[in-house]
């Protein structure tokens, strides 16, 4: 009878037995299954495939903490938090944290953090930052990591952003998002004035040119007395660079040491923009629009605008009626040349965990990272832009293909000079204000811009 008594010692032993069993089980090697998304090319078409990967993780060791700093809205921060949860689940050796900085404060914040030597392990390198940081040792060269990562293909990035983030032949940032400008047009307004829909195939869009834009904008402009209730085209001043390039001119020379805006092509392009406002009266002067085009467009106050892909994502997210479509840029005398910009994921030069930081950066800029974060602009990997996931996102596949096709001739903006912002604020904008206000001719403005820009570049 005594043997069957539940003594205190036996009670503790029975209680500890399951715990010991659980401990043994936890220490045993586990086979982990997880689903990863990859881009593969099947019969000439890129597709995102989900693969179940089984792996026996290495013996448990404490995860290495890495921090990611991003700029953007609260919604974008939420996307990143979700993405990092997925990343952390799939990478037991790394624990990534997020630090979100509002877009308006990002440049100054990163500047001071980098100066103080306290930047995050991985951070968004915006193009405007890179023009000043290139060659100053704030980011690690990614070449050693790329070399040691099987299957990593640098050529998968679009050439223009890849070259921008390349310094002395080495890549310092993995381009993530960016993209060129396209034409947005209001389909209801087009129908109302009897205009045919615009083409979506860049190769077939020769008729959609500068003359056609002015003609269409003329029909679309609607007036009630002195008040214009709908502008045909809005704001050539917002993206004036593209008309310089499409006009066959260039802003700066190859090594960004000399301004070329005094060329006849540049003067003609400026004159064409000025004429749209004051001769044809189909676009508002800058002085008449204090709101951005993308605010006016969905309200039906603008027939045609030129903008980037994130605008269509934003409209869809807001649930705005789909009374608009996309078309290539209007072709100018020098072709159809958009500007494009991009930002990249860079690894901080003083990170204590470069390998883990690289794992995070390459994951974020890879297929799984981009698709988890959600497609807003144009992913800077060619393979992702060929997938149905991208092509069916937000716009029709034909419309999404316009962004990809226009990347071929796109010019990266900003130009690669640390004096870019000064050129804009001191040489270009004040002089262009005179053009938009009809206070000076295109030639006077072009010559004044060139003179000031060359003084700044020479200083």
């Amino acid at each position: 009878m005594d043997n069957k008594r539940l003594t205190r010692r036996r009670f503790i032993a029975i209680g500890l037995l399951p715990s010991f069993g659980a401990l043994v089980a936890a220490c045993a090697p586990r086979v982990v299954e997880r689903v990863v998304r990859e881009t593969v090319v099947l019969e000439g078409t890129a597709q995102v495939v989900e693969k179940v990967v089984t792996a026996t993780p290495p013996p448990a060791r404490p995860a290495v903490n890495v921090t990611l700093t991003i700029s953007g809205t609260q919604d974008q921060a939420k996307n990143y938090l979700r993405a990092l949860e997925i990343f952390n689940a799939g990478h037991p050796g790394v624990n990534a944290d997020l630090e979100h900085v509002p877009s308006a404060e990002y440049g100054a914040t990163m500047q001071t953090r980098l100066a103080a030597g306290t930047a995050a392990d991985v951070f968004q390198m915006e193009a405007g930052m890179w023009i000043n940081y290139e060659g100053k040792g704030v980011a690690l060269s990614l070449e050693p990591f790329i070399a040691s990562t099987p299957g990593f293909d640098k050529a998968d990035f679009f050439d223009v952003p890849r070259e921008f983030f390349t310094y002395q032949g080495e890549l310092y940032g993995l381009p993530a998002y960016g993209g060129p400008l396209v034409t947005y047009y209001n389909t209801e307004a087009f129908e109302e004035v009897g205009l045919d829909p615009l083409p979506t195939d860049v190769a077939q869009a020769d008729d959609w040119n500068w003359d056609a834009l002015i003609a269409a904008a003329g029909k679309l402009t609607k007036r009630e007395g002195d008040l214009v209730t709908r502008w045909g085209w809005v704001a050539p001043h917002e993206e004036w660079f593209i008309y310089i390039y499409s006009g066959g001119a260039r802003l700066l020379n190859e090594d960004a040491t000399r301004c070329l805006l005094d060329s006849e092509e540049a003067i003609a392009a400026l004159q064409w923009m000025h004429d749209a406002i004051y001769k044809h009266k189909v676009a508002p002067a800058k002085t008449m629009v204090t709101q951005r085009a993308w605010n006016l467009f969905p309200a039906g106050r603008v027939g045609v605008m030129i903008d980037r892909r994130w605008v269509s994502s934003s409209y869809v997210r807001q649930g705005l009626p789909r009374n608009w479509r996309l078309a290539p840029l209007p072709k100018g005398p020098g072709g159809r040349r958009s500007t494009t910009s991009s930002w990249a994921f860079s690894v901080y030069a003083k990170t204590k965990s470069p390998d883990e930081a690289w794992i995070l950066a390459s994951w974020l800029a890879g297929t799984e990272g981009i698709l988890t974060l959600g497609i807003e602009g144009v992913p800077q990997r060619k393979s992702i832009t060929m997938t149905q996931t991208f092509l069916a996102d937000t716009n029709s596949p034909e419309e999404n293909r316009i962004f990809v096709d226009q990347m071929a001739d796109a010019v990266f903006q900003p130009a690669k000079t640390p004096k870019w912002n000064q050129l804009l604020q001191e040489a270009f904008n004040p002089e262009l204000d005179r053009l938009w206000a009809d206070k000076a001719t295109a030639r006077e403005v072009a010559l004044a811009m060139t003179k000031k820009a060359n003084e700044i570049l020479a200083s």
């Binding site: 100066a115 000043n132 508002p284 709101q291 640390p418 004040p430 206000a437």
Partner: protein, 312 residues
């Protein structure tokens, strides 16, 4: 016994000579020490650093490079320095008197026994605590040429509106008008001052037959001059550091018509990465503000009345 007093007592315990005024002296210094340390580390330190950076080429990332007086020499031939200082001065010299006048008038009106007075006070004060960026966006819609509130109202009256923010003639005045929206801060200080005036003064004046205007002019106005002086100094310093409206609404344009000095300084520091030149600019602004403030202080003996001085 407070910690500071205890500390002062311990210090003076061993030195009897210090036990009276000396102990109070030490207590005073100890009480003031948080501010003194804060000033030394967060104000004086950066000022001294800025003075040295003014002699350097510095982009925050690479170490400063000594370039002698090149930055200060550049100040002398920088046309944007002159134009931004001019724009800022016009803004300050027009805005400050308008804010002082408006806040004084509204404070006088609110210093009466009205129904719902607290609601009015809150309404007038509220704009001054709203974020400048949000207020700027609001005024952007008010001033819009085609669809803005002001021009829509003018159209109803059969008048043509102006390009408020896009025309070099109207952009700066528009920003000044916009800034008046935040007069509530000065107003609340006036109001507090008015309510501290003993009612006996007014009662005595009333017995002597003084009307409302005379009571205001002979009692309220002189007793409010120290507060006016305070608001003038603070308003002047604040206005000379104006930044947000110029950056968010007009970005310095059109044609640099709203390029305020601090916006120009900010551009040099954080957009052009010329921290050295920005540091030199900051000293120019400091000296300018200092000179104007000293002038105001010098003039104060002629128009500011302190009751303690009158008693003497």
């Amino acid at each position: 016994m407070s910690t500071v007093r205890r500390l002062a007592w311990r210090v003076t315990r061993w030195r009897p000579a210090l036990r009276t005024s000396g102990r109070e002296n030490i207590e005073g210094w100890l009480f003031a020490s948080p501010w003194i340390l804060g000033f030394a580390f967060f104000t004086a330190g950066p000022m001294v650093a800025a003075m040295f950076l003014g002699f350097a080429e510095y982009d925050l990332i690479t170490p400063p490079k000594w370039i002698g007086s090149a930055n200060y020499a550049r100040l002398l031939r920088d046309p944007l320095l002159v134009s931004s200082l001019k724009v800022t001065s016009i803004y300050a010299f027009v805005r400050v008197p308008l804010v002082l006048l408006l806040s004084m008038v509204v404070a006088t009106l609110l210093n009466t026994k009205l129904r719902g007075l607290r609601v009015y006070r809150t309404m007038f004060y509220l704009p001054s605590i709203l974020p400048a960026a949000a207020v700027s966006m609001l005024w952007l819609l008010v001033f819009d040429h085609d669809y803005g509130f002001i021009n829509s109202f003018l159209r109803q009256l059969g008048l043509n509106g102006c390009n408020w923010l896009g025309d070099t003639r109207y952009a700066l005045p528009s920003l000044i008008v916009m800034s008046l929206w935040g007069f509530g801060g000065s107003m609340i200080i006036y109001l507090a001052g008015m309510q501290s005036i003993p009612t006996e003064y007014y009662e005595a004046a009333e017995v002597d037959g003084a009307g409302p205007i005379q009571r205001w002019w002979y009692i309220t106005w002189p007793l409010m001059t120290p507060i006016l002086f305070y608001n003038l100094v603070m308003g002047l310093i604040g206005s000379l550091q104006v930044f947000t409206e110029g950056r968010i609404i007009t970005n310095g344009g059109p044609e640099n018509a709203t390029l305020f000095f601090v916006l120009y300084l900010y551009r040099n520091a954080f957009e052009y990465f010329k921290l050295g030149y920005a540091a030199a600019l900051s000293w120019v602004l400091f000296l300018y503000v200092l000179i104007l403030t000293l002038l105001v202080f010098r003039s104060s003996s002629a128009w500011v009345y302190y009751t303690s001085e009158l008693k003497r």
